[in-house]
Assembly symmetry: C2
Homo-oligomer: 593 residues x 2
């Protein structure tokens, strides 16, 4: 269903089609697609409703905000998204970030969604999608691994039924362990059973193979049933736990901590709160923005990063192309529109996108079905949500985030590229302190490593009669002095007379600072009667150096020719040396070349 653009369109038609990808697939929509999208949409819906309730808890917001955040993204992405599989909505990581920056206050969370949306939209319009390239793989891995631990541990208190545990990770660990004796038996038993059930269903799904036609009919029929159960496992587990809690409630005793009452009905349509009333006055917009601080950079950036990473992964798996800038526009619009429906910042969800892809979604129409399901549950089911035990939601979250922990990455990096362990470990460890510090420090460290490699390019120096210097990469300004020092030191240390050949065949570009450095080097060596010639320069570099009109610049197309010239010159200077014991007969320099 994913069709390429047709030739022969006007530019505005092409632009509209690019900005509204729905125009590409809707005219060709078929009934068979509808059937597939319906199944996928319902399946994702059954996953998103319990997850939304649970993630709102991670974000430190009332549970209904999870659902408020779960439908606008589906609708918007259906119109503007370029990847059929991606579903936008609340996610574990975004909820963790929201809990850091929104101070468990819905007003801040909704404003954060609006502002993040504006930033993402602006990035999309300015084609700043390339900025995402500067988040390296070790930083992402470090962050997701640390997030999976903090998010899981954050839920242990709900499994144990403990209350009043602080948010900061280290305090949380300390308090949870100290008060482990206060564990409520009911919550613990239910939580662990839910965890076991979810793990079991997940394992079952992974081990399930399509039935061979030789097997009995009952087996063949049961396989799709088991698969459906495994796919909708979150909904099933939450439903079962809710039934248990309800029966306790009816019997009059309640050993479980429940979610509590959820306001019924759809969220009101209203602009996000640009100021906030507090007991003694109002917090103005400027103050709210200042309070959120770095969140205004981290939330939109990580939101886009997550969505684009997921979209790219599934685009590659299912063989279609995505447009990173269009994804930015879709995300931005979804967050802005969402904030009018009291949504907190949303992003692409890896887990639900995978469910969507596996159930064979055909177009983004699936999102429409999911969104409708969320709206229906908001309209009719909220009165039942109060019976959902917190421990069951905690189990849903833990089983969703544990697979994000990648222990092998440490071993892999040790084997493949040890230097990359530095940004990984920095990000991983600092994320336990504060997520934003971890990510920023990781990006900083990988940036510094990158700049270091530009500032200190590998330079091969061979001494075989002449001094052959071969920089391993382009010459940018931070490397200019380094190269000059190396050549100067080696040339002056060499047994005179010396001849230096700078082999530039790896140099693809050179900037003015490096040109100035070479000019000074030429003068410097000339003062010590050392010749410096260039060879094998690539065309653009040669043009730049010729334009700079360096004094004493000589270039040879190949190393061999430069070496031949050096031999002639060294021979002459040796002769001059010998002669100068008697009478100087140094040939005029003009004769040499």
């Amino acid at each position: 269903m994913w069709v390429p653009r047709e030739p022969g369109q006007r530019w505005w038609q092409r632009e509209v089609r690019r900005r509204l990808p729905v125009l590409g697939w809707l005219p060709r929509y078929s009934l068979s697609c509808l059937r597939l999208d319906l199944t996928a949409g319902v399946t994702v819906g059954l996953t998103v409703v319990p997850q939304a309730l649970a993630y709102a808890e991670v974000a430190g917001l009332p549970v209904q905000y999870g659902l408020y955040s779960s439908f606008v993204g589906c609708f918007v992405y259906c119109l503007l998204g370029t990847a059929k599989d991606v579903t936008l909505g609340p996610t574990a990581i975004m909820s963790l970030l929201v809990s850091s920056y929104a101070f468990h206050d819905p007003a801040y969370a909704v404003l954060l969604a609006f502002l993040s949306g504006c930033i993402q939209l602006a990035m999309g319009l300015l084609h700043l999608g390339f900025l995402l390239d500067f988040v390296s793989c070790p930083v992402i891995k470090g962050f997701t691994s640390a997030a999976s631990i903090t998010i899981s541990f954050n839920q242990v208190k709900n499994i144990l039924g403990l209350q009043g545990i602080p948010r900061q990770f280290f305090l949380q660990v300390y308090e949870t362990l100290r008060r482990i004796g206060e564990t409520r038996a009911g919550d613990a038993i239910l939580g662990l059973s839910c965890l076991a059930a979810l793990a079991g269903l997940r394992a079952m799904k992974n081990r399930l193979h399509p039935a061979a036609s030789t097997e009995p009919l009952a087996t063949r029929a049961s396989i799709p049933l088991v698969r459906s159960c495994a796919t909708a496992r979150n909904a099933l587990v939450v439903l079962a736990a809710g039934l248990v809690a309800y029966s306790f409630q009816v019997s009059g005793s309640q050993p479980l901590t429940l979610t509590g009452s959820v306001p019924r009905g759809l969220p009101p349509f209203r602009p996000p709160p640009f100021s906030k009333a507090v007991p003694n006055g109002t917090v103005p917009f400027g103050r709210m923005v200042q309070d959120m601080g770095a969140g205004l950079a981290v939330v939109p950036l990580l939101g886009v990063l997550e969505t684009v990473a997921i979209a790219k992964a599934f685009a590659s798996q299912n063989d279609y192309r995505i447009d990173a800038n269009q994804e930015l526009l879709a995300m931005g619009t979804a967050n802005i529109l969402g904030s009018f429906f009291s949504s907190y910042p949303i992003t692409g969800s890896f887990g639900r996108t995978a469910v969507n892809a596996q159930t064979g979604v055909c177009t983004p129409m699936g999102g429409l079905v999911t969104g409708t399901l969320v709206l229906l549950s908001l309209a009719y089911l909220t009165s039942l949500f109060c019976y959902i035990p917190k421990a069951a939601l905690a189990a849903v979250i833990i089983s969703a985030v544990v697979p994000m922990f990648d222990a092998r990455i440490f071993r892999t990096l040790w084997r493949v590229k040890r230097l990359d362990l530095v940004p990984l470990c920095v990000t991983f460890l600092l994320c336990f302190w504060e997520v934003q510090y971890g990510i920023m420090a990781g990006m900083l460290v990988s940036g510094i490593l990158l700049l270091y490699s530009v500032a200190r390019p590998p330079i091969k120096v061979l001494e075989q009669g002449v001094l052959l210097v071969q920089p391993g990469s382009s010459l940018h300004f931070p490397a200019a002095d380094h190269l000059r020092d190396i050549i100067r030191d080696r040339a002056l240390a060499a047994s005179s007379p010396c001849f230096v050949i700078l082999d530039g065949h790896h140099i693809t570009s050179i900037d003015y600072t490096a040109v100035v450095g070479l000019a000074e080097l030429l003068q410097d060596l000339h003062k010590h009667s050392i010749s410096l010639v260039f060879c094998s320069l690539q065309d653009p570099v040669l043009r730049t150096l010729l334009a700079a009109d360096l004094e004493g610049f000589r270039h040879f197309p190949s190393w061999e020719e430069a070496a031949r010239c050096s031999e002639a010159e060294l021979e002459v200077s040796r002769t001059a040396c010998i002669d100068s014991t008697g009478e100087s007969s140094l040939l005029p320099a003009g004769l040499i070349q």
Copy 2:
């Protein structure tokens, strides 16, 4: 006199010698050196006294602060400096920065010197000298050219005798032009005469050639005299202007604006002010630091940059080595100690260093002489300084900074490397607004251009039966996706069956993110039955890729072997294509290689 370290020393002896370069030259100090150092020291002293008075005016401080800042640097550098020619003291650019960050308040200026010194010392101890590599040539040129214009124009008001002109450059130009009618004739005539005299003496010095022995004795004797006059031109012009002002004063009418009374005597030795008394209370340390803000980064960094740049230039000219980290230590110590003598931030002065070198200074001992001269003038001459006309000092400054303006750099960059015009123009233009914004924006722009070239390395793609892809430089994480997208797009667009050879002979290093990108690309292309092989990888890169254990990774030592393999493989697949019309006889992949 500049001696290399001796072999066979213990590590602590070497360390002490490195940290106290004076130990290297003092034991070999000779009488002939003393004569040269004495001459140079006196000459520099005659330059620094009038300049110090003038630069204090640029910094917006009382004139005596210029002298307070001029002696400690000379003494400290004599002990700790590694370049014999460099002289530390107040400079035009540093004074301009101080006027931005110290609010024309000596307390702030002295504290700024102390804190800058601490930062420079810390940078030296942490070996952060390499950070200076990240200031590119266009940024420095843009900054110095803009500074020469703003500093010169800042003095036009003194030449014209105007008062109450605002500091901000654009307002200054507007006000100066608006009030040009209020020009005081005395100041203008004196100022322009001084400028003409300085320009004339400067030109004379540049045109002066050593006398041939055939010329009459009078000519031969007059040449050194003229040269001395030209070298000490600042002192002579200021002296002459002072005499003119004094005779007016004696005659009872004073058409000139004078410097006014200067407190007599040496500055008191006391710690820098860590808080400041104001009419309604005190400004605490924290508040003062906050007020100076970005100055605490810009002042130490530019101070070091100026000193190291000058030291490197003269080291290269006079053939000795400097140690950037030791220069940082010397600068830091000079600023910290200076702040105890009410000095404002100091740095290496290009003009005076040049005077020092030209008069043939032999060791840093020259600084001792200069410093003593400044102390003597503080002790005995301050009562005379009040007669120095402001217009004469303005002329000294203008003639010192005008040569810093480099108009040719714009044309040179247009010819050599147009892209470098961007940081140059950004720095140049923004420096008129605020110096720090100009420098920071320039560094940011050159940083972005640098990162862009790393993120989008040149990638040559040749299509000749096979697709030959040759990245022009190392593969770092920001380039990973770009390379993958290019290869994927070209491979899928090619007429199938397609074979891709990635020629890695320019790749000197690769990081984990790029490895992951290649792994995904391999899988991706494999899904479309496209082969991707690598050739000519350098050893470290090959080791990394082998360690990563990529699925389907194949490497050939040369392009030719890869091409031969491709031919065989394409032949097989073509056969398979033909056969598959009848019956598939595709050879097992294992046979191909």
